[in-house]
Amino acid sequence: MRPSRWSSVIAWWGGACVVGLTLAGCSGLPPLALRPQPIPYADTLPIHEPANLEPNEIMPLLRESVVGELGQPFDPDDWGKKNEALNLTHFDDVVNSAWFQHRIMRRELTAEEVGLGPTAEAGRPKPPYVVTELKGAGISPGWWVRDAKGDVYLFKFDPPDNLYLASAANTISDRLFWTAGYHVPEDYIAVFDTASLVIQPEGEGPTREEVREILARTSPLPDGRYRAIASRLLPGKPKGPFRFRGVRKDDPNDYYLHQNRRELRGLYVMAAWTNHVDIRFANTLDVFIDPPGFLRHYLQDFGATLGSGTIRPHDPREGTEYNFDVWAFLARLVTFGFYTAGWEGVEYEIIDPSIGWLPVEMYHPGRWKPNWPNAAFRSVTAGDGYWGAKLVSALGDEMIRAAVGAGELPSRKAADTLTAILIARRDKTVRYWFDRVSPVENVRVECADASGDGFVLTFEDLGIGSGVRAAAGTQYAWELEDSRRGRHWRGDATATIRERQAIHVVPPGTTDSCLPSDAPPDPSAGGASPRGSPGGEAGEGEAGEGADVTAERLAVLRLRAGRLPPQTSEPRLATIYLLWTGEEGGYTVVGLEH
């Protein structure tokens, strides 16, 4: 019988696949625990001073909006969101770098620290202010000033009908992103009267008329003074924005493709929570820190966050549809305009002129969209989202209240309202992403039996610890895979109300009477940080450090946290990498992947 046309095609591709796999080596990535780990601050080595890039933003935005969006269904890398971030430690975290500095993930910050964020009292702008230059790009009015200390600030103003709106949002988000670990500028609220402005002689700076024109685009406070967000000039030389795709070619420190960086993928969760719809490369900045001479990567301009659209309150479309959303564009084409997105039927009511519009009900942590798509956000996996949600969940109520306090809103009621909204959005965010994985952290082997007949694995369940899930409805299913020692065990366990959960990993049909301690983890032995990852950096204080981690000695325990009521989608397994240390003590935890 002659083969059909389709069987020929399939046979041809089968052959091609074999050839392709052979040529490509097609081994994929080794397990997380067997990979080298990223090295802290490796991207702060000296480089030659790069050029100051001022790229036209339209081209990459359109490329991402059209090719990026339409190409996704044709990109196997995106099928099933399989491609994980690459700059991961063995415990599914990132190291400190020119991109990210662990803050709340490493220690409990005080509310006061969160309220201050990157700022310090000494850095607060001091009048008089010499107006040196008009603000260039961007839609909010403003100018650059030099204060009495000689420091340079960018003053930006609120829209006339919404005083406090952008300045408060900017300051609050500045604190939240700093707390999470991102590099951000020092943003202050500045209140001044026009007498404190110094206009330079003609030709040396903006004229009095130009300064007045800018002030005419805002409104004075009731006492006649003006309020502005004062963003202190970043230390170092600005070198243009960074992109969310590829690497910067003139920065040899820029190693990982940006879309594969966990910090940039996880940033999606922070951006969604704070409604940072204007996150695009124009609102980022690479700064050359010299000495020693490296690029630090900043997020800046948070004026269009929370309920603020910078020059007006946000509207319901923002956060739910891209500025140019090619799918909605096509949907309207084929339905003759009768397709309506969810936001189009939303009752739109400003919460408060100083807050703008920040939804809770219609906010969806996984479907939130910035105004422009980018490659890093498009690549977000459940693991990336979980990592970002850990940052968000670490911000407690009092910390949020302190950050909101930095915005100096006009009334206690407005501050309380915004705090309540942020808390509600935080809980929604955390629940959504924590439900997509099995959120176990600080895993330890206890009661290890050198004979290898069983052990107790203890861990924290952040789903329960963060309060988004109850112990009563949580069940763990686990499976141990250790081919070398012929162990293929599985079992399940019920969560308890204790801080640390425990599962007895024993051969089928046996029981283990070992009772694990309830003591907090010992940081010196792969200890815990507030949000789960081992303290310190990769290679430092990590369980199993110094041990020879090879595939032969590696066992894997997969664990699923099932909930009642059940998660909306099947949660990912947590993969716990166990190193067989032999007669000395059985297994030790050397890696964790979500």
């Binding site: 490796a42 059209v66 790009a137 990982y256 305009g337 950096e537 290679g539």
Partner: protein
């Protein structure tokens, strides 16, 4: 050893010493970077890349199209206000030079116009179209203020491959032939500004028209297909004094950048033969536009047009006969596919918003349309209507509808058109 230099959680400045204890230079740092054992910078190939190869090829045309679109948009954004990078538009504006796009008459396409207003109220302007037409340009000098303008200028238009199928709605597609039309005009015109509900413009001038062999070697010339004796204007140079005016009653307004309301336009033009040209004719045209919104995003748009050409002497030169077909009327047919002295045509469009810029400064709308129309020797003989349909996309800003493109289908096939301006 080198690796150990950066295997530290210390602040960056402390990680910058070489193994000799001295500072690390950018060049010596390269060796350190090369020695670091790190996770891969990108995902290694796997079976998905094998599957992805043909998909990449499938997507290649889209990628290329988007790249071109991005490049074009990037280039335009460098010209427009508020673009980043060098802004040619702003630089030119400081010098009193304004760039715009305007039509230069039927068949001449959209021309780029530069107007120098540095010495107001006087202005100098020049427009040229070479992309969509073999050549058309216009120069003018004028006076302008807030509400009125008066200009005098010279226009030359040379269409080297104008098509002709004969006269009448039943002219045959197979009779397609071509000719070259050269027209030189001098004249003066006055305009009221576009801010009022009622606007008037009028002008007068002199022109000379000549017809030659067309440049399209794949088509027969008009003399090969039609007896030239039957086509007034085909063999002789024709000169006219021209006078005319246009009256517009505009009851439309923009709401959320969507036109609403009605507009009436009346046109009259008189061509009086001079010298040995024994021909006088009037062109009378009435046009009505209606924009009927369903909501902020959806609307019906209607257009109706009637035109008649009473004449004396040898009548109307064939190139001045009323035309149907092309990017404005009866869009599923070639430009000037049908010609006769009188015409009746209409457009029905369903317009619906596809995109709106977040700040509400621009929008794009899809439109599906149905056109109909006919030409005849007189209004009483209008019959045998032709129809087409299609869809397109139109951009609009606070100045109203602008650049658009469409795909149209008529009895004789499919047509695509891209234009930078829109009058409807």
């Amino acid at each position: 050893m080198l690796v150990a230099l950066v295997l530290t959680a210390a602040p960056p400045a402390a990680a910058q010493e070489s193994q000799e204890g001295g500072p690390v230079s950018p060049d010596s740092a390269d060796a350190i970077r090369a020695s670091l054992q790190r996770p891969p910078a990108s995902h290694p190939p796997d079976e998905r890349d094998v599957v992805g190869a043909p998909l990449f090829v499938i997507m290649l045309p889209l990628r290329l199209a988007a790249e071109l679109l991005s490049l074009a948009a990037g280039g335009v954004s460098a010209l427009l206000p508020e673009g980043e990078g060098p802004n040619l538009y702003e630089v030119l504006k400081v010098w009193g030079l304004e760039l715009s796009v305007r039509p230069l008459g039927p068949g001449a396409g959209d021309a780029v116009q530069a107007r120098l207003t540095r010495f107001q109220p006087f202005f100098v302007e020049a427009a040229a179209s070479v992309i969509l037409s073999p050549g058309a340009f216009r120069t003018a000098l004028g006076l302008t203020n807030e509400d009125q303008s008066l200009d005098g200028g010279f226009t030359f238009r040379r269409l080297t491959e104008a098509d002709f199928w004969g006269v009448g709605i039943n002219s045959l597609e197979a009779d397609k032939s071509d000719y070259e039309w050269q027209r030189a005009q001098v004249g003066a015109a006055g305009h009221t500004r576009d801010t009022a509900t009622f606007r008037f413009s009028g002008g007068a001038g002199w022109e000379q028209n000549e017809i030659r062999e067309g440049n399209n070697n794949s088509l027969p010339g008009i003399g090969d297909t039609f007896p030239l004796d039957s086509l007034f204007g085909a063999q002789e140079t024709v000169r006219y004094v021209v006078g005319g005016g246009q009256f517009t009653a505009d009851f439309t307004h923009l709401k959320s950048l969507q036109p609403r309301g009605f507009k009436f336009i009346g046109d009259v033009a008189f061509h009086g033969g001079t010298g040995d040209t024994d021909s006088d004719f009037l062109t009378l045209q009435g046009e009505v536009h209606g924009y009927l919104p369903i909501n902020d995003r959806q609307a019906f748009a209607l257009l109706g047009l009637v035109e008649t050409q009473p004449s004396w002497g040898r009548g109307v030169p064939f190139y001045y006969l009323s035309q149907l077909g092309g990017p404005e009327f009866l869009r599923g047919y070639s430009t000037a596919r049908f010609r006769d002295r009188d015409r009746l045509t209409w457009i029905v469009e369903w317009r619906y918003e596809a995109w709106r810029e977040l700040q509400g400064r621009a929008r794009a709308e899809w439109f599906v349309f149905w056109d109909g129309g006919t030409v005849a020797p007189s209004l009483g003989e209008l019959s045998d209507f032709r129809y087409d349909y299609g869809f397109g996309l139109r951009f609009a800003d606070q100045n109203g509808p602008g650049a658009h493109f469409f795909f149209a289908w008529g009895d004789e096939g499919f047509r695509f058109s891209l234009r930078l301006i829109s009058s409807f």
